[in-house]
């Protein structure tokens, strides 16, 4: 019965096309970090769509609508918590994926574009995290929004979109909501498609002397993904995500969502410019990596000076993150 169903699906959905060879090593968890990131992005899309049915992206209604979602919408509290933990999970998996791909030096010719697509996706995920954290519109969310305004003012014409002066016809919160739920996910989807296409065409950067089939890799990946989802579901029950009190404008007393705390730490040192300089330096370096580490040799871990720069950046981010976590809350944008 099951075999008959499987054959029928194979024939009609052309699933045999998934039976191409991949390195056997792809069955290991470290080769599934990118796939797990994609899985979690799927979870974020589904839970985000649900939350969007209840969210009011206006300054007057946003906070109340989140309260409604938490306290009254069916399963709203649980789904929102899953969304929150999935966002954190994506940051962890994409960081681990990026670090492993860097260590493997998989960005070298002919995979430069695959790497750049990945870096662009990591940048988009960073933006999705910061835009998402503003939407709760409590004190923390309001301050996140105020950082967009401050950053927009600092960067002049480049940042005018993030200022209240861009247009009086709609609020900045509504525009941030629009970015978070339409433009950024759309770009992310296109980049994921490009990333996967290039991996399919160029092959996985691993030893092909022993191979398996992609279908098994994908099946195991889905298995890990569903287990991860179940774990997030339990976490969402045990540690439901809260919301702060309605924002009081002109005050800066909160710390941001944990993935952004390294930027917060840098702001402690450099002021508001920290939020521009920190991410810019990190993503600029990541984008330049294939151009800086050239040559035929692609032995993992032998990056030369590029590796030392990457290590220094990673340690700096870790140090800033710890400073952000344990340092006292400070004012950065002169609200």
């Amino acid at each position: 019965m099951i075999d008959t169903l499987r054959e029928a699906l194979n024939e009609r959905l052309a699933l045999d096309a998934l039976d191409y060879e991949v390195p056997k090593a792809t069955g290991r968890l470290r080769y599934m970090l990118g796939g797990l990131t994609a899985f979690l992005i799927g979870v974020l899309v589904v839970t985000g769509l649900y939350m969007a049915q209840y969210y009011d992206p206006t300054p007057r209604g946003a906070h109340d609508s989140v309260l409604y979602l938490i306290s009254r919408a069916p399963l709203g509290d649980w789904i929102r918590s899953i969304h929150y933990f999935s966002a954190g999970g994506v940051v962890l998996t994409v960081t681990a994926h990026l670090a492993y791909v860097f260590w493997r030096r998989s960005y070298k010719k002919p995979r430069e574009v695959t790497w750049w697509a990945g870096v662009a996706m990591a940048g988009l995920i960073f933006l999705l995290v910061v835009t998402g954290s503003a939407l709760r519109y409590d004190q923390e969310g309001f301050e996140a929004l105020a950082h967009f305004v401050a950053g927009g003012r600092l960067t002049g014409a480049f940042g005018v979109f993030f200022t209240e002066g861009f247009t009086p016809s709609t609020s900045l919160l509504s525009r941030i909501f629009s970015l978070h739920t339409s433009l950024f996910p759309l770009l992310l989807g296109l980049l994921i498609a490009l990333h996967f296409w290039l991996i399919r065409q160029l092959g996985i950067h691993a030893d092909y002397s022993e191979t398996g089939i992609f279908r098994n890799h994908a099946t195991r990946l889905a298995g890990f993904g569903f287990l991860l989802f179940a774990g997030l579901g339990v976490l969402a029950i045990v540690v439901p995500v809260g919301i702060g009190f309605p924002a009081v404008p002109g005050v800066e007393i909160t710390k941001p969502f944990w993935p952004v705390l390294w930027v917060y730490g840098l702001e402690n040192l450099l002021g508001a410019w920290g939020m521009i300089l920190g991410p810019s330096i990190v993503f600029l370096f990541l984008g330049l990596v294939p151009l800086l580490d050239r040559g035929e040799d692609d032995t993992p871990g032998r990056h030369g000076w590029v590796g030392w720069v990457a290590l220094a950046l990673a340690l700096a981010i870790l140090g800033l993150w710890l400073y952000g976590v344990f340092g006292e809350a400070q004012q950065h944008i002169g609200m």
Binding site: Y68, S71, L75, F226, A230
Partner: protein, 164 residues
Amino acid sequence: MLLFAGVLMAAVHPEAILKSTQSSVEAGRDLPLVGEEFSNGETFRLVLLGALNDYALGDVDTNDEGKFTIDLAIPANVRPGQYQLVAYAPDGDRSATMDVSVTAASPEAAEEGHDESMASGATAEEMIIQRSTTGVGWGVIGLVIGLAGGFGLALLRGTPSVEV
């Protein structure tokens, strides 16, 4: 044009209408409210539906023309925020609804019992919220987690293991 400026109205029932010259009201103050096109000579229950709480505001009787005009007292303990003001018919149906924004109570109005925790200054603390997942909700959550975990394990057990 001016006649309609500032007049908010919304009707759920095809006829009944709630309207006010104000789109917002301070907690502890009165909201001028007009009802039209309701059933004649009946009693309607007025309720404020909010994100966290609902507030029963009392009953109102319509006249022979299906109208009423009242100054609706908004209790001082109503939490500031966006609300739907709903008029329920005696059979429980929603007869009419309108959006209204409630702003924080003035100190004088707060003496009537405004919730101090909601009038706090800026804080990084989180709100204490009554989460209301029902028994059915917990059942659905358990089912989803169980299915996801079971499905994940089945997929992992159903595919060849790999080198370690």
